[in-house]
Every structure is written in C-alpha cells, then in structure tokens.
C-alpha cells in the first residue's frame, strides 16, 4: 500500500509541476522556478510557527505571499539596472538564508530540518494520514496535491488562450488588451502553489527538477503547446515510476532517483527526438551528404 501512495504522490507532483513548468520553460524563466522553490522557505517556517502544523491553508498562503515577493523583488532589481540572473541569485539566496536562520533559531518549535526541506520525505507520505471521525481518507499530502492540481488545471484551462499568447508573444498580448502583468503574477502564484504543496513530500530540489526537466523534455519533442503539456506530465510520471523502482533497487533517496530518472529521459529526448534529436539530425545530415555526392 505504501508503494501505491508514494507513486500517487509522486505522480501528482509530476502533474502539478509539469503543467506550470511548461510555461516557465517557454517564457525562459526556468531559473525563476528555482528561485521560488527556495524562497518560499521563510514563508513555510513562519506559517509553521504561527499555526503549529505542517498542512494548513496558512502555509499555502504564506508560501504564495513569499513566492510573489520573490518575483516582485526580482523585477524591482531588474528594473533598477541589475542583470536578471544576478537579481534572481541575490533574492532567492537572501530569502533562503532567512529561512535557514529561522529554522535554526526556532529549531525546538519547528519540526522541520534542512534535510527534510531539501530532500523531502516522500517515503513517509503514507504515515501522515487524514482522518475524519476515525475514518482514514488517505495521506494528507495526496489531498493537498490533488486540490493544487485541480486549481492549476482549472486556472490554466480557463485562461489557456491568454497564457498561450502571453508565453509566445507578450507584445501581441499587450496590444490586444490582455493584462500581461496580471497573467505573469497569476502564473507565478501557481508556481508557488505547486512548489509548496510538493515541498514537504519531495523537497526543494526535486520540485525544481520536476518543474524544469520534464517540461524541457517535452519542449524537445513537440511544437504544440497542448501536446507539450501532456508530454511534460507524462515524462514526469514515467520518471516517478522509474525513479521509485531504482531507489528501491539501490536503497537510495527516492527524490534523488526520480530527478535522475527525469534527467535520463531528458537525455534520451535530447539525443533521439524525432525532430530535434542530436542523433537524428546527424543521420539526416549524413543522408543529405550522401545524396549530394551522388
């Protein structure tokens, strides 16, 4: 049974992150995803100190606030003339440092440690059950991720066209009256939500991996947005299954193995993608050269 819950949690994480990750990769903001996943940490700690539990709506809200603060600060520094990647680097490290300091100052109240935040505890997902009136309804993490997935797919589904235009041609979007800034922050809010609900089960690093790697794999395989989202989710889920089996076989970190599996899938797409793959392009080049000489 624990296998089932772990795989379900991993797949839900893959789906949440896979959808928003596509937009991050398309808008060349992959590293902003990395930044958000680190800088929601002080939000999580503060919410934990106030509410005393790990799975409150407050935590979601605090993480959302910190995610948006991150994006706002990065934008602010960029506009005052600092290179974008340097402003990303300064903002997320500062917020992460605040988070680490809070954890170590209130270590006794906060049952969070750096390791759990960085690696996650997906192996213990099925211990933390949600019970109503003595009836067990399955792990809390699954419910949280399920709700997040629902919200993400609802919002992306409703505003699919707007998100699409904003990703490919923000100037056109602005010209035809789509509030580009609003959709930018909406997307960032969704990224923060995906990050924080995946956080405690899989850790900060796996979240970044799930945001960027499957979406990039899909990016190399197709040129249609809808297909890309589907492929991104599929790549995430497949790497969850491969990674989990590998982690049992190797007796190693589940989150680490899942990221490695996602990396391997990406490598496969990079080499063998039917349109963009390195090997395929080399072969095509060779056949062209042969037909030239004839």
């Amino acid at each position: 049974m624990s296998d089932f819950w772990i795989l379900l949690t991993g797949s839900l994480v893959a789906a949440c992150c896979g959808i928003v990750g596509v937009f991050l990769v398309l808008r060349k903001m992959a590293m902003i995803g990395d930044a958000i996943s680190h800088s929601v940490m002080p939000g999580i700690v503060i919410a934990f100190l106030i509410s005393g539990s790990r799975d409150s709506m407050l935590m979601m809200f605090a993480a959302l606030v910190f995610g948006l603060i991150t994006v706002l600060l990065i934008g602010l520094f960029q506009r005052s003339g600092i290179q974008s990647d340097a402003s990303i680097g300064v903002v997320f490290t500062a917020l992460f440092a605040i988070g680490v300091i809070l954890v170590s100052l209130f270590a006794r109240q906060v049952h969070l440690d750096q390791d759990a935040i960085l690696y996650g505890e997906i192996a213990f997902v099925h211990w933390n059950l949600w019970e109503i009136g003595g009836m067990s309804l399955g792990p809390k993490a699954v419910w949280l991720l399920g709700v997040t997935l629902l919200v993400i797919s609802l919002i992306i589904g409703l505003f699919y066209k707007q998100f699409k235009i904003c990703s490919f041609d923000p100037a056109l979007a602005a010209a035809i009256g789509i509030p580009v800034a609003f959709f930018h922050y909406l997307l960032m809010g969704l990224v923060s939500m995906a990050t924080v609900s995946s956080f405690e089960s899989v850790g900060a690093i796996l979240v970044v991996g799930m945001l960027i790697v499957p979406a990039s794999t899909a990016y190399l395989l197709t040129e249609k947005l809808g297909t890309m989202i589907a492929l991104s989710i599929a790549a995430g889920i497949v790497s969850t299954f491969i990674g989990y089996s590998a982690s049992i076989w190797l007796d190693a970190s589940i989150a680490g193995c899942i990221v490695c599996a996602a990396g391997l899938l990406f490598l496969a797409a990079f080499l063998f993608s039917p349109t963009q793959g390195l090997v395929v392009r080399k072969l095509r080049m060779r056949s062209l050269a042969v037909s030239e000489t004839r």
Partner: protein, 312 residues
C-alpha cells in the same frame, strides 16, 4: 565591541573568522568576472553540480579533506559547464533551462550518492552532509590553511591574467580577433569559479554559496566604473560579510554562520542599491528631482520673458 575582543582572543574563532573572510574575498573577486560575463547563476549551478563530484571523491578515497573534494568537484564542475554549453548549442533550449536541468540532475545524482554513502559501509561518513550544507564552526586550522592557499592562488591568477580576463569579460569577439585563446581563458575562469565555490561550500553550504559570488560583485558595481576598483571593492565587501557573519553568529546563540554571512552580503547589496553614487535609487531620485526643478525654473523664466516681450 566587547565580544569582538572575546572572539579574537579565542584561537578557534580566529580561524573561523579568517576562513570566512578569505572565502568572501576570493568569491568576491571571481564573482566580479562572472557578473560582468552575465553568468551569475552559473556559480549556483556549479555549486550544486559539485555534490556528486564530492561524493564520488569520498567514495573512492574514503578521506574527508578539502583537497580531495576539490579534485572531485572540479571534475564535476567541468562536466557541468561543458553540459550547459553543449545543451544550449545543440538544442533549442535557452541557457536558463540548460542551467536548471544540469543543476537539478547533478544535485539529484549527488543526493542519491549521499544516501548511498550513508547506507553503505563507509565508516568515516559522519558529517559529510554537514560539510555540504555549510558549517563554518566545524572549520579547523588545516582547513583554513588550505583556504588561504586557495585564495592566494585565485587572487594571484586574477592579477596576472587581469588584462586577458578584462578583455574576455567585455569584448570576447575582440579578444578572439587579436589572437587570445578565448576558449582556454573562459575554461580557466570557470575552473577558478569551481575552486572558489568548493572552497566556500564548507562555510556556507551548497545552496547559499552562489550568494557570495553574486551579491558582493553587484554591490561593487554600484560604486565604480573601473574594473580593478570593482574587483577590489567586491573582495572587500565579501571579506566584510564574512567577518560580520562570523561575529554575529558567534555572539548570538544558535545562529548559523553561513546564512548570516549571506544576509550580511545582502545588507551591503541593499545599501549599494539605495545609496550608490549615480546609479543608486536615492541618487537617481535626487537627480530626477533636480532636473525637474530646473525644468520648471526654466519654464517660469521663459514665461516671464515672453510676458516681458509682449508688454514691450
């Protein structure tokens, strides 16, 4: 003030203080070049990518020493930079996605290896993860000696190759044109960055070391337009952050040195963004207020003159 003298009289603290200052100095110097070359986040990627290298080095040798780790992390860092370049050149992925992919997969691999080490029978493994997430308090004299050697090496190379590094930071095309081995110099700069990162990991940890590469350099950029002054200032900001971080964490209980050092660097950054001459926010506001005032005054004078001309 009292606890500064107390800190300086404790030989252990003196080592840690020196180590953190040297770390700040060398990462500040290297960070200036990476900022100008628009590669600030490459440092972050290199720091994460160092993890599997360090783990493999430990698995092969069974020794926990900064020298062995440096070799492992250096090789891993080189593979990572090669990977980033290869991905961006041979696919439609942009640099940010390439950085993210390399960062997470290498780090994931590192975590797999780390748990492998923890579950396997590598006797002396305790504290390897502490080392990776930063624990300046665990630094001892021999670590600081290694770090001093590394810092001296880094600063010397940067001084000797100052002209070359300057040119490839501002105009790599021109550098290639006059016959500099640009690819080699870029690789060398990358190697120096790897060295600075690995030397710093012990004090501030994998996640936060990139701050020490970025924040002092950006702060220094606000105060000067000359590269040599910028590098000196950046080194100074880095060293001051190291000193401030050590001091605060030694005087407040359960304050980790690494994050406090990073926050000190962020503090210098914010001060620079606000009060830097010409580019700082306050200076810009001041300037625009002055221009506005002058414009209004001129308008008024013109109106007066027009009135005078109409009357006369």
């Amino acid at each position: 003030m009292n606890n500064i003298t107390a800190m300086l009289s404790d030989p252990n603290m003196r080592w840690i203080l020196l180590g953190c200052m040297l770390l700040g100095l060398s990462s500040g110097v290297i960070g200036s070049f990476s900022y100008l070359r628009k590669q600030s986040l490459v440092g972050d990627t290199l720091a994460h990518a160092a993890l599997p290298g360090i783990c493999i080095a430990f698995m092969l040798t069974g020794v926990k020493s900064i020298g062995v780790f440096l070799v492992g992390a250096g090789i891993a860092g080189m593979i990572a930079t090669f990977g980033i370049g290869y991905l961006t050149r041979h696919s439609k992925l942009k640099q940010d996605a390439a950085l993210g992919i390399i960062l997470t997969t290498f780090f994931g691999l590192g975590i797999v290896l780390l748990t492998f080490i923890q579950h396997g029978d590598y006797g002396n493994q305790s504290g390897l993860d502490k080392f990776l997430f930063g624990q300046a308090a665990a630094m001892v004299g021999s670590d600081v000696v290694t770090m001093s050697l590394i810092s001296i090496l880094l600063v010397t190379i940067c001084t000797l190759l100052f002209k070359q590094f300057k040119l490839i930071s501002f105009d790599p095309g021109f550098a290639r044109g006059i016959g500099y081995p640009v690819a080699l110099l870029e690789q060398l700069l990358m190697l120096l960055m790897v060295i600075a990162v690995v030397a710093g990991i012990q004090a501030v940890g994998v996640v936060l070391i990139s701050a020490m590469l970025i924040a002092p350099a950006v702060s220094a950029r606000y105060w000067t337009n000359s590269l040599s002054a910028m590098i000196a200032l950046s080194g100074l900001f880095g060293a001051l952050s190291g000193a401030l971080g050590t001091w605060i964490s030694s005087s407040v209980s359960s304050m980790p040195t690494g994050p406090v050092t990073v926050l000190a660097a962020t503090f210098f950054f914010i001060v620079s963004v606000l009060f830097g001459p010409k580019r700082g926010i306050v200076a810009k506001r001041f300037m625009s207020a002055r221009v506005k005032k002058r414009f209004l005054l001129e308008n008024e004078l013109r109106a007066e003159r027009m009135k005078g001309e109409a009357a006369g």
